[in-house]
Symmetry: D2
Subunit: 340 residues, 4 copies
């Protein structure tokens, strides 16, 4: 069975597993107050060129979005997001459970623009409506697209002008920073966002998202917010050890480059075979359109997800990862050729 379902189908990359084994019996203080977390946080601050940033380690993506956004907002404040945003659809109302409305703006390519944000703010003009306060973006987006540096810069400028916080969900940040033509760096996110995450789960760790806070207004008592959300891991060391392992020697970006390369090969092959793509996504998620018959046959050979279905066909999603093998891409392309 081929596996293109997602980028968290396997455990961890070998270096992460080795690091966990090597440090396993060293006793440490709990809750992320250990030396491994300190080292990983330092590594992140250094990569971000943000020596004053707060860095926190959490276990999962929904958890970090829920904890951070819940901590940042006052009760009547709202989030602006693209309607494809992970928090809008696939987190079971986690943001609303903390009391906050999400203003979901319809977009085609998964990306917000300054114009969209500005118009949403203007529509919310008095106390009978929620107060927009935070802009949520994902990079890469949920449809595999990537914000360029100029897009991020424009959005950040708009947010600062309007008094909005800019939060970037970086569950797939490594992929965004390593696609062909990528022009953003850790330091750019630190400079342009008020807070962002550096995803581990989808890039070679067993689990873990690093949350970087650069706006000092967000610093006070953030660990209280984490604990209240059940988001401080007792053996917090596990997060420090894992991040430390991938942040050394560029491994973190190297893993993403591999995933992106596998996706590029697959995309290129499919285009050559005449398949069309629902979205032009340069990262590790691609969205070819199959016929229902093709989809049905493929199910017997390959694990994947269906993004949508309509009269034009079935839009499927193929995801590659640090663990994807070239031979599996070849096998998938061969199957797609035989069933073209």
């Amino acid at each position: 069975m081929l596996y293109f379902r997602n980028d968290y189908s396997e455990g961890a990359c070998p270096q992460v597993l080795d690091a966990l084994a090597d440090t396993n019996l060293i006793p440490t203080a709990g809750y992320g107050t250990d030396q491994f977390c300190a080292a990983a946080a330092d590594a992140i601050r250094s990569l971000c060129e943000a020596p004053e940033a707060q860095v926190h380690f959490l276990v999962g993506g929904t958890q970090v979005n829920k904890t951070a956004i819940g901590a940042f907002l006052r009760p009547y404040e709202a989030v602006i997001a693209a309607d494809t945003g992970h928090i809008c659809v696939h987190e079971t109302g986690a943001i609303e459970q903390n009391g906050h409305k999400i203003l979901a703006l319809p977009v085609q390519d998964g990306k917000l623009t300054a114009g969209l944000v500005r118009a949403a703010v203007e529509r919310h003009c008095d106390e009978h409506m929620v107060l927009p306060r935070l802009v949520y973006i994902s990079n890469t987006t949920e449809v595999g697209t990537v914000y360029s540096l100029s897009e991020l810069t424009a959005l950040s400028g708009c947010c600062r002008e309007l008094g909005l916080l800019l939060y970037c969900d970086g569950a797939r940040l490594a992929s965004a920073m390593t696609v062909e033509g990528a022009d953003t760096s850790f330091a750019d996110y630190a400079r342009l966002c008020d807070a962002f995450t550096i995803g581990g789960t989808k890039n070679g760790l067993l689990f873990g998202e690093a949350l970087v806070l650069t706006n000092p207004a967000l610093f006070p008592h953030f660990r209280h917010a984490m604990k209240q959300q059940g988001a401080i891991l007792a053996k917090g060391r596990l997060l420090g050890v894992q991040f430390d392992a991938v942040l050394r020697d560029g491994l973190y970006l190297q893993l993403a480059r591999h995933a992106n390369a596998m996706a590029a090969k697959l995309r290129q092959g499919l285009l050559e075979l005449g398949y069309s793509m629902a979205v032009n996504s340069p990262s590790n998620q691609i969205f070819p359109i199959l016929t229902p018959t093709q989809e049905e046959r493929l199910r017997e050979e390959c694990a994947f997800e269906v993004q949508s279905r309509d009269d034009h066909g079935v839009c499927v999603r193929f995801v590659t990862s640090w663990a994807t093998r070239g031979e599996d891409v070849d096998a998938l392309l061969k199957f797609m050729e035989e069933n073209a």
Copy 2:
């Protein structure tokens, strides 16, 4: 440096780490819908003699308490707990963050009784007061004491009579089931409680709490509640693999027996040296009383926590675990003898 600070100072027991390494590259479906979680859930249902029970795997203790209690209650319903209960003090108001008041009853030994519960219910008689609906207990308790089978049975009977749910926080359930004279089994908790947890974090896993729901009224849509709380791990397999590893061949209880034996040796030694205990706790947490001078000296040799301070002395907490070595107990006793 000696380490008696807690039972989650190290990583995982070797069998758990091996199981993670052995299964690392097997691709699986995400979110705990994999074969390893299925196997571990089956093992738990079997141990609990509860073939119909729902079993869910979550990452941490605060997370599982918050998720379960939040899912079980309607907005105006309240929790009854001992004032020493973990949810009352050390979870940063996580239960309240979900909207529920905790009625914290003053107790000396960490344990609720049917009489205390009944009186609390009687005090809440109309719609101007919260409606008590769930009784939270911990076993072992936060002060190391253990509920006997007859105590649990009495509490369960009272709860059923009064229409209350009984929830047992089993972060240290293994210790409770293996202290000298222990008379409760997995099946007893399944039979007497509506829901309970089987703790992994404090008994040899990297992390993980298994939540067992035996009351069918609590089943519907529980995974929705988990996801909303950010409490479904993407690589859920990690929880299944770990629980599967310790539930095989009795390892889970064996690890706790070791921890209890180390604590018993330490307690016995301290009593022989003339130290007194603040609580008579038979499990893996003990609470000797030191002088301020003793405490200060000990800090240089040993990691531990202070429970309380007053004119009678300093009540410290020593915790043993699956990882505690007999030689470290000897070393601590030697120190305590020299400083008696």
Copy 3:
């Protein structure tokens, strides 16, 4: 100055004020447990032909929506509503503050259909998404349109088939039941909805919304939910006295008939003058389109609200009420004629 801003610009109709004065010094029990509330609730049960219904009296519209929906849903359950719905826009995220996502469906005429509801339910298929559980409608809608009996019946049937609760916000229910061609009665709402409100604030009371619960699953402990939301009025008698006053001798519908007649006269007059309407609304809210110049001049003569502005003109809202005088309608029409 003419007043067509809303239907709550004045105090109460004379009968209501008299009833309050007449009963003012009679001491009663608090919190709505008095004889006046009992009588008003009986009157409502009788009008609704629902002898088993629970009737509760609350002060305001946002309060009753928030309290009822919050009490009915479990944390991960969501509301389906038209995107024009009052709860979607003009209640400052009150539903979300209680933890619930609203799935806002785009509509043109303010009304949901069975087809829209069914499609929304089908899009929410697993635990990574919220669980649709309640359908919120308003009658009249926020754009002045009215559900017919057949529309309500279809919606109700769809909800029951799909296991959804149907909740009708009746802030302007009296208007809906008295427009020309209206074919719904109190008993229809009681039969087709699980819960609905009978609005007082916008139909001659100082304040007050009656909430009618007909689905017995919603009965238990509802007053606990009210109290927790700060929604039990200490002098609850005031609500009973007022509702009792208008429900006697058909006054409640008579007040709405007057408001509708005033709106009809205004609408007819404007159409004859050549003005067009943004929505074909038969009730006490009408939405003519003016030029910016007309709007500007009108501001000096009349209080009203602007619904929207675009290149086609300014859509304004005129609202009539029990207190609207025929001579004021004439004066407004005269102005509109002079400025046509």
Copy 4:
């Protein structure tokens, strides 16, 4: 039947009712943005000698406590209160429903002290515990006692030193300011508290609590918080009209003086008859101790509430108000004499 059950058994004092009738047909803008609310707010700012204060008008006591405290706190912040505090017991967990833990401190006389507050703050030392942030007091307290100016000053000083907000629930503030020996004024509350309420419901209004915010950090977007809680009355004018009526010519304090005088007469009479009091309360609530037989007989003649029962007798509560008649006090005393 005599009525000593509470101070909200009747409607409004005549001056309030007259003011409502006089202004009834004047159309105004909604939601408290009218001229009557503006005048009442000005009157309050003037009485408080706080020209910069924000004044908001809400309908009820639980509503204002819930709205204000919910708006002031961040999610992990907690309230310190006396365990007799209204928010601790008789608001059905309204504060917790907004996500905040209340640290309820055991007291005998209903009053917090700087020492109690300081100790509570010291017990909450890290992120595993909630962060105390607001001190809630009631004046008069729920057991009829009254804070003196020196007590309030000490508490205020302690709060400012520790970075805590001081909030005074003034549901019975008028009674507190008019008991014999009272030494506090509106201006003192404005100077010493960050926010406090001026109660109307229990002092002659149909309903209404004025919330005074003096700490500018609490100002931004407070009306958003009100609307989200369903706490902006559509016909907000009703609150302005009523407060305006009682704040003119000292009526507000005069009504309370009458209530206090009636209570003093009753208390003095009961003491002379040999009854003892459970609490030495100088305000409009008194707490005599009866025998079970006395209580039973009294039920046939008089409406009142039972505070508590134990082996020493039945502690009942008699409450007087602006509406209490001297002849009713005489009648009650006569009954108590005959049954002494």
